[in-house]
Chain length 86, copies 2
């Protein structure tokens, strides 16, 4: 995959899987990666951001953070969207 | 308490407690309220923001969101800081 934007949805897999996904996307030339997590995975989503920042440092920029809630199976859940760019 | 800035640390109490804390701070004339949550409470911190936004609507403005990690008892934990103003 290559292009302008990539999405990494953080779920129940190990943290390192998502960190790797982000790094691979950037290596493939994607300009902007969106990390998204819902409910109980929000904390892990931020941990993924921290780990990416540790590895890539100034090569990656925190462009935007968006928080809110959405309906999933008629239940309201909080979410976070972290936009990273290089 | 009155003044420029108030801090609400989101922990293990019920969500409504924190929503009430924010509303009371604003009613007391505080200009800016910082919602802070760590680790597993980050999702709840966003839920508090959503609930405050539901109740106060345009009267409250999302000024900034900061994410990162810090050391607590030698363990690294993620955090979120949500800055609200009116």
């Amino acid at each position: 995959m290559s292009g302008e934007e990539g999405l990494v949805s953080v779920g129940s897999r190990p943290l390192s899987d998502y960190v790797l996904s982000v790094v691979i996307l950037f290596n493939q030339g994607v300009k902007r990666v969106i990390l998204k997590g819902r409910g109980g995975n929000i904390s892990k989503t931020i941990a993924v951001y921290n780990a990416v920042k540790d590895r890539l440092g100034d090569a990656v920029k925190l462009e935007n953070i968006e928080i809110g809630s959405e309906y999933l199976n008629k239940k309201r859940v909080s979410y976070i969207r972290i936009v990273l760019s290089r």
